[in-house]
């Protein structure tokens, strides 16, 4: 047997004030006789195996415009019967085997998540194999999943947060799949057929498959299971080219829903992950609105003025567009004030930038908290899959904190100038106008 081509023992370093400590994660890259590769971390402490897979670029951006929601329906229907097992038999096999299996689609990718206990790992891989290679798409199951999805879409139809996200997306990406709701709309989902699902499965192949396996399994046991699960997949995925796109800037759009709170989304061009300024931009975003209790937006919008419960910004390096965006929600009559406060923080970031101390604090948080992303087998599997999808390399876990440490104040300012110099973010507002 030929495997274990590559092995990296990487240290997840803690950046602690006092003593530094490190936890070694031993990642093996295994490749099977049928040419399936996976990243594996063996750890038998807990009798659980976490398997995270992705079919790169097989997400909803592959959906033709009139078939929006196709990837989402595919994800919902893959575990609804396969091979000789109809939906009920398949679902019962999961329950009786203590196997958890689910699929999910994002804008860019199609994901699978398999969790098994140690004694049911073979059952798990066999059921995953059936789902991926012999899905039945029985009419009954397709119709049932369509009904469930349409009901879910209707439930969100007048939810300000959902409406504003869709409004922003179609304004920023008017002629691109990223502008379409990734789960579709009731009208498009209603038209989807079994044939559409079969067509969507052509995006699932060995050449766009990424696999991360973490937990109570060794390479020797895993290799034949990988071949059983994925060996029959076609070699090459049939994918439509999705053009790169820049979000529109400077637009302000609104919709009225009679509701006491106005939801706000903003967004414009960000930076691609391969851009040299991506990491500086990532640090900049953390200081501005990246999710800690000490960001500028949190402090100015929430803590000082009490305008909102939630306020945030993010950098999203999608496959075909790079976005800087964010949002909040506030009482209808405060919407203008909240937007003004947010815009003032953009200007402050573009013109003044953070202080040395703010930069040091941000770096301390970002480097120190990285290890927390590796606190369970399922969390480690998620990280390993992410690193593969983003093509960051097996040694990324080792290098990542040094990249952040190297960011200077000038780097942050340059990244801020690039992001805020690209034009004013497009703003979408949904609520009941005040007065």
């Amino acid at each position: 047997m030929y495997y274990a081509l590559n092995r990296a023992i990487v240290a997840v370093a803690f950046f602690a004030a006092s003593i530094g400590s490190a936890s070694a994660i031993d990642i093996q890259e295994v490749t099977t006789p049928k040419g399936v590769s996976a990243w594996l971390v063996s750890d038998d402490t807990v009798p659980v195996v976490a398997v995270d897979i992705a079919f790169k670029n097989a997400g909803s951006s592959q959906d033709p415009a009139e078939k929006a929601g196709r990837a989402n329906l595919l994800a919902a229907t893959l575990d609804e019967g396969a091979g000789d097992l109809d939906s009920v038999a398949f679902q019962n096999a999961l329950l009786e085997g203590a196997v958890q299996l689910s699929f999910d689609s994002s804008r860019d990718h199609l994901y699978g998540d398999l969790s098994t206990i140690s004694s049911s790992v073979e059952r798990g891989f066999d059921l995953l194999h059936l789902a991926l290679t012999q899905p039945r798409f029985d009419q009954e199951a397709v119709d049932r999943m369509k009904g469930q999805i349409i009901a879910g879409l209707r439930r969100e139809e007048k939810d300000p947060d959902t409406v504003v996200a869709q409004l922003w997306a179609r304004t920023a990406f008017p002629d691109h799949p990223y502008g379409t709701p990734s789960n579709g709309i009731p009208e498009t989902v209603a038209t989807l057929t079994r044939d559409d699902l079969v067509a969507a499965t052509r995006g699932l192949a060995k050449d766009n498959l990424m696999i991360a396996v973490v937990g109570d399994i060794d390479a020797e046991t895993l290799i034949p299971l990988l071949d059983r699960a994925f060996g029959d997949l076609p070699d090459t995925a049939e994918l439509t080219d999705v053009p790169p796109v820049e979000p529109e800037t400077g637009l302000t759009v609104s919709e009225t829903i009679d509701t006491p709170q106005t939801a706000i989304r903003f967004g414009g061009p960000g930076l691609a992950r391969e851009d040299d300024d991506f990491i500086p931009a990532f640090v900049m975003n953390h200081i501005l609105g990246g999710g800690s209790f000490s960001s500028w937006l949190f402090s100015e919008v929430r803590e000082k003025r009490g305008l909102a419960y939630s306020v945030y910004s993010y950098l999203a390096p999608f496959e075909h567009a790079a976005i800087f965006g964010g949002g909040t929600a506030t009482r209808n009559d405060q919407a203008d004030e909240a937007l003004d406060v947010i815009r003032a923080q953009f200007e402050r970031m573009a013109n003044e930038g953070p202080t040395e101390e703010e930069l040091a604090d941000a770096k301390a948080y970002l480097t120190g908290s990285y290890a927390l992303r590796f606190d369970s087998s399922s969390a480690i599997a998620r990280q390993l899959l992410f690193i593969q999808l983003e093509e960051l390399g097996m040694d990324y876990i080792d290098k990542r904190n040094a990249l952040i440490e190297a960011v200077t104040l000038d780097d942050v300012k340059r990244a801020a100038t690039r992001i805020f110099g690209e034009g004013v973010p497009t703003v979408a507002v949904v609520g009941a106008p005040a007065g």
């Binding site: 997840v12 402490t45 679902q91 019962n92 709170q261 000082k304 419960y309 506030t330 970002l366 927390l372």
Partner: protein, 452 residues
């Protein structure tokens, strides 16, 4: 290619299970109970302090004060003013947050292990020395009101949920929302918060849960040096609340709203929790909820969604952890044009069938496997384990109760499940909540929403 199909296999044998067998517990002289759950895989620690107080312990007219106080706990002490605690957590690369429920309020940080002692020092400090001013407290009340708008008032389904609880829990504070009623919330003050704080935030009324790369010995000494320095001889607050009344009347609450595009229905029963049930009854309710509606081969899903089909989705759940009697809920989303009462009647018939004819061996085996597997999956996450112990220990269970839960689940018989259905879910007393599409006629819409 045909394979040996997993469907032909027997349910997987999970053997004898104990939840977190290496967890241990001790109590400091001041009454603080400490639970330690070692997980040495990574040098990370989850530190949680759980107070045995929640919204159900609020004084009359002060709904929302437990949750408002939770927000104000981040406003600083004399030793660590302002946001120093949060700033420190961020500087050491930690994560933090807090949450409030009916029965408990919890605060947590996840940090690398060498920062644990510092976190314990900060958390012990704010157990005793919180300082509040009108300047920091007033904007935070606005934040909480925005949180209420975001969670409840922009979501008709959440508003209906409030009405359902208010109708189900007669004579009991579980009928009041954790976040508070809007008018009472608007009038809360920082003095109210401090009064609540002084009454309930004490070592004797708290549980410390630490999961991760630690040993019991280390924690004994760290806990003694921090929380151990706070005097308390009052012990655990006695949560002797008025008893929720079991009415024989069925009740119906409906919300029609122009923002609703998809109707739905749910029915709730007042049932015992792990704290109030006779031995074995709560475990039987757990299995019953799984068989009735825990997955998509359950009785409800099979009958309402697969066979007829009347609904696009259907299920059941049981809120098992609570100090007092709690709720068992059945829900469904109708197919277009199917009247909600058709679905509700059918769901009641499915429950009556279990009460009369019981459940099958295969259903029992699947439900047992599914619940027991969740115990094994939970061991993968230190924060999940910490939450399981924290919520159980603040709702009347002991460490042993939690650890032996799998054994008790495995012991539930089909007859127990049938008895639970017969005893708790048939006869009168259920509350049904319907979310309905508003009539589109303009004046009808205005009548449904008169405040705008």
């Amino acid at each position: 290619m045909l394979m040996t199909l997993p469907a032909a296999a027997e349910p997987v044998d999970l053997g004898e299970l104990t939840l977190a067998p290496n967890a241990s517990s001790f109590t400091l002289d001041n009454g603080l109970q400490v639970v330690v759950i070692p997980d040495r895989r990574a040098p990370i620690v989850t530190h949680m302090i759980w107070y045995k107080v929640g919204s159900a312990d609020e004084p009359a007219g002060k709904s929302g004060i437990a949750h408002y106080l939770e927000h104000l706990m981040f406003k600083g002490t004399e030793t660590h003013p302002g946001s120093e605690f949060s700033t420190t957590v961020a500087r050491v690369g930690g994560k933090e947050n807090a949450f409030t429920s009916n029965d408990y309020t919890a605060y947590f940080q996840q940090v690398s292990k060498e920062n644990l002692a510092e976190m314990m020092g900060f958390e012990a400090d704010r157990m005793k020395n919180l300082q509040l001013t009108p300047e920091v407290s007033a904007p935070e009340l606005n934040v909480v009101q925005e949180e209420r708008r975001a969670r409840i008032e922009t979501r008709p389904s959440a508003e209906l949920g409030e009405a359902l609880d208010a109708t189900l829990y007669v004579n009991h504070p579980y009928g009041d929302p954790v976040i508070g009623w809007p008018d009472e919330l608007a009038n809360l003050t920082f003095e109210d918060a401090l009064n609540f704080y002084r009454s309930f935030y004490r070592p004797g009324n708290a549980v410390l849960v630490i999961a991760g790369d630690v040993t019991e010995d280390e924690i004994r000494s760290l806990a003694q040096d921090t929380y151990g320095q706070i005097a308390d001889d009052l012990g655990t607050f006695d949560r002797d609340r008025p008893k929720a009344q079991h009415l024989r009347s069925d009740r119906l609450v409906e919300l029609r709203d122009p923002r609703v595009s998809q109707p739905s229905t749910q029915t709730a029963w007042l049932v015992p929790s792990y704290a109030t049930a006779e031995p074995g009854e709560a475990e039987a309710l757990d299995i019953l909820s799984e068989i009735l509606g825990g997955n998509n081969t359950s009785r409800l899903y099979t009958s309402l969604v697969r066979e007829e089909p009347l609904a696009t989705n259907a299920g059941a759940w049981y809120q098992s952890s609570a100090i007092d009697d709690t709720r068992f809920i059945v829900y469904a989303v109708p197919q277009d044009g199917v009247p909600l009462d058709t679905i509700e009647t059918k769901a009641r018939a499915l429950i009556a069938d279990i009460a009369e004819n019981g459940v099958g061996d295969e259903e029992m085996a699947r439900a047992r496997t599914s619940l027991l597997a969740s115990v094994i999956f939970a061991q993968d996450s230190q924060s999940s384990l910490a939450r399981i112990f924290g919520s159980a220990l603040t709702t009347g269970s002991s460490v042993e109760d939690v650890q032996e839960w799998p054994t008790r689940i495995a012991a539930v018989t089909a007859e127990d499940v049938q008895n639970a259905a017969r005893k708790f879910l048939v006869g009168g007393g259920a509350v049904t909540g319907r979310l309905l599409v508003a009539d589109t006629a303009p004046d009808a819409a205005a009548a449904a929403n008169p405040t705008e």
